[in-house]
């Protein structure tokens, strides 16, 4: 079965990751509420994390912890995991900043739709 062969070769982590990225982008581009955009951003970030980790994903490997017995060959690649850890932290920082600006924009008397915050143009 050709379809099955393709399915087997598909990375089961990267696919939802990519889909989450697209959904996140959709949210960013299509929702006008500042907070909703921030939510979409965090979904985008989750998707990116999944994609990153999918690269290190090799079937049947264990966590990359050197405990003396496990062979290095049977561990997953530790580098993407390190990257994801960093990315998660950075993502939180960005999300928090985004939210704080959203709060300040809204509490300053403006709306929470991005459309009303477009005075600077042309």
């Amino acid at each position: 079965m050709k379809l099955a062969a393709i399915l087997v070769h598909l990375n089961p982590v990267a696919i939802p990751g990519a889909l989450l990225i697209l959904i996140g982008l959709w949210g960013i581009l299509a929702r006008q509420n500042l907070f909703k955009i921030a939510v979409a951003f965090s979904i985008l970030g989750t998707g990116v994390n999944l994609v990153i980790l999918s690269v290190g994903y090799i079937r049947g490997r264990t966590a990359p912890i050197l405990d003396g017995e496990a062979a290095v060959a049977s561990m997953t690649d530790p580098v993407p995991q390190a990257l994801v850890l960093t990315a998660i932290v950075i993502g939180l920082a960005v999300t928090a900043l985004l939210l704080s600006y959203a709060v300040r924009l809204r509490s300053g008397g403006g709306g929470s739709s991005i459309e009303v915050h477009g005075d600077e143009k042309w």
């Binding site: 089961p12 982590v13 696919i15 939802p16 889909l19 989450l20 959904i23 996140g24 959709w26 949210g27 299509a30 929702r31 006008q32 509420n33 907070f35 909703k36 921030a38 939510v39 979409a40 965090s42 979904i43 970030g45 989750t46 994390n49 999944l50 980790l53 290190g56 994903y57 079937r59 490997r61 264990t62 966590a63 990359p64 561990m75 997953t76 995991q81 994801v84 850890l85 998660i88 932290v89 993502g91 939180l92 999300t95 928090a96 939210l99 704080s100 959203a102 709060v103 809204r106 509490s107 008397g109 403006g110 709306g111 929470s112 739709s113 459309e115 009303v116």
Partner: protein, 100 residues
């Protein structure tokens, strides 16, 4: 094999919840659902043999981020319906609720 099926199931769930997150009008629901997506992602990380990442994602991505969101929503006095105050409306002029 079980592992993969679990990952696939989690992936499908994540995508589904994510779409719902964007579609729903309630900000509270969407924040909680995006926390759910993160939680599922951390499950996937765990299944992939990355327990430390999974832990971080669960605590930060799912937990802390959601808390920050909820705090921000309450600080901003943002109505739950995301369209509620699409335009800055002066106090008292809250007739346009967006819902029929």
């Amino acid at each position: 094999m079980m592992l993969e099926i679990a990952i696939i199931v989690a992936g499908v769930l994540m995508v589904g919840i994510a779409i719902a997150t964007i579609l729903t009008r309630s900000l509270l629901v969407s924040v909680i659902m995006s926390g759910g997506v993160s939680l599922l992602a951390s499950l996937v990380f765990l299944l992939m043999g990355a327990p430390d990442v999974a832990m971080t994602e669960a605590v930060i991505g799912s937990g802390l981020t959601t808390v920050v969101f909820l705090y921000a929503l309450s600080r901003a006095k943002q109505p739950d319906d995301e369209d509620a105050a699409a335009l800055a409306s002066p106090p008292g002029d809250d007739t346009d609720g967006g819902q029929p």
